[in-house]
Amino acid sequence: MSAATKDFKIREFPVEENPKEHYLNAASGLKSWLFTVDHKRIGLMYLASIIFFFFVGGLLALALRLELWEPARTFMDADTYNRVFTLHGAVMVFLFIIPSIPAALGNFFLPMMLGAKDVAFPKLNLLSFWIYSFGALFTLYSIAHGGVDTGWTFYTPYSTSTGTAVISMTLGVFIMGFSSILTGINFIVTVHKMRAPGQTWGKLPLFIWSLYATAIIQVLATPVLAITLLLLIMERTLGVGIFDPALGGDPVLYQHFFWFYSHPAVYIMIVPAFGIISEIISTFSKKTIFGYWLIALSSLAIAFTGFLVWGHHMFVSGQSELSTIIFSFLTFFVGIPTGIKILNWVATMYKGSIDMKTPMLYAMMFLFLFSIGGFTGIMLGALSVNVHLHDTYYVVAHFHYVMMGGTVFAFLAGIHYWWPKMTGKMYNELWAKIASVVLFIGFNVTFLPQFVMGSQGMPRRYYSYIEQFQTLHQTSTVGSWVLGLGFIIVGIYLTISLFSKANKASSNPWGARALEWMSSSPPPHHNFNHTPVVLHNPYDFHKPISEFRLGIDGSDNHHEHTEVAQTQPAEKS
């Protein structure tokens, strides 16, 4: 369909600033949200759920840090502590970070950036949200029934022998896996089949490339998690014995199964963040992205390599020496495409016109924090050093630098970047910058000491510790309060921006070139009033913005499909 652009009459359409009718007021009432098939509304519902679970996971984290103030008991006992860190991990991984960028921001912006009216399967998209909610209910149920104390990895045979609510928890994760798979299928098909006329693969925004790579991982890896958890449930109910040494099974095999999903899942968490950073750095440098193809293809390379390295979680697990060595060797090759990305982003800033607005500030923090996460990853990939650092706080600090310093900071960057588009409102720039600095300081104060502790040998998942570590633990705990404060500030000014009347956002406040900015803020029900036509690369900042607002003449979305207008009266205008 893309080659056919020349058959049409193309003309520039003006963007309607501050439209009276948009997707937010196209219909009202709770039902219009819960049963919507509009990808934008589904994206917002995901966003709300994700923020809720981030809040829950964050409170659990604060509780953990507080408990570690004293070497022995501070305010909870060991069993409670074990449940709290398990829930913190499970909630943050399965309920927050995996759906965070793809399901919330991706759902909202993937069709818009492609110039499509919706994802390929809108009903499936809604179903996916419901499956996610249903799975989340199971998680809440297992919390109510005593929680789970296995750690989010559910390692056998501990998970098959402990008396806690492992089955309902794994069932919840199992169900949420289907949500992830359906979103992945939807995104892949949408990218393949729904691109606007003229939008070739070489003109896809890098956020789309990263979501596409993510979707591939979701589709290929998640079913293996499903079968793993199913086997685990069978192990607990029927004693099938595949993972249980007492019945002749092998617990290390469980770890292979688990990490076949969970290592690629790390890239489900971080690759979408790369996409956001590419968008933001290019936009706020007002400059063509450096090395477009290298960034785009490195996402796919990371996705692929990510499937070959799972065993680096198992260097001391008792797997064979042969696989330990091969896994270590392959692990380093994830570093190359990642390094390329970072350097290409820095190169994009060279000779740019840099505007250090909040999203850009977050992107810069991302570069710094994620680089640390990456370098410490190289450290953990080195075999002999890994033996010392494995399962210590060094690992904890490493993955928080990647997941929080990386993904969460990129997520914050994305929320600030697209906030005007999603809500039609601008937030307070000064407070946003203050909050970002508070978060940056809080984050480093929390997690830098953990690198030191880990190097000194402090094991992770410890309820009590030897006194030597107390100063570092207390520093880390103080840092966690600063982090909490930062998030409170973010919550306050974003909420205020929603309800204040004066701060309406323009359609393209940053002067970006990607398609989502060629629609009004907030966008109309069908994203664009006319089928958009793409002539240029989304990072062609040297071309006038008018050439990015092209559409097919006569493709007015309001009149094209009468049956839609009948079911949704708000459309009749």
Binding site: H192, L220, V224, D250, V252, L253, H256, F260, F307, L308, W310, G311, G318, Q319, S320, E321, L322, S323, I325, I326, F327
Partner: protein, 103 residues
């Protein structure tokens, strides 16, 4: 853009594929009664199974006439399955020889 653009699979291909599948099934069962030394017994059975799978995918599922992307999707799933099994076997098959690589 309507029906005439979808490939209607010729009846003779469908029936031919079905006949081929039955023959291969008989061969598979037959091979299991013949003494073939390990591991060639398993390899024979798997080769026959892959032959059958190819027939189903190519003819019944219409991959011969379909868009290439769909074939690629199937091949990709197989690639990743083989990666999974291959890399796992690097552990499970070589556990009792922990130091062989160093000697």
């Amino acid at each position: 853009m309507s029906s005439h653009e979808h490939h209607v699979i010729d009846l003779k291909y469908l029936l031919g594929a079905a006949a081929g599948l039955i023959i291969l099934t008989i061969l598979t069962v037959g091979a299991s009664y013949v003494e073939i030394p390990r591991p060639f017994d398993l390899l024979t059975a798997m080769a026959l199974a892959f032959g059958k799978a190819t027939l189903v995918a190519a003819v019944f599922m219409g991959l011969i006439w379909d868009k290439k992307i769909n074939t690629m999707a199937l091949l990709f799933s197989l690639l990743f399955f083989f990666l999974m099994i291959g890399i796992t076997l690097l552990d499970t098959l070589f556990r009792d020889r922990p130091f062989w690589i160093y000697n």
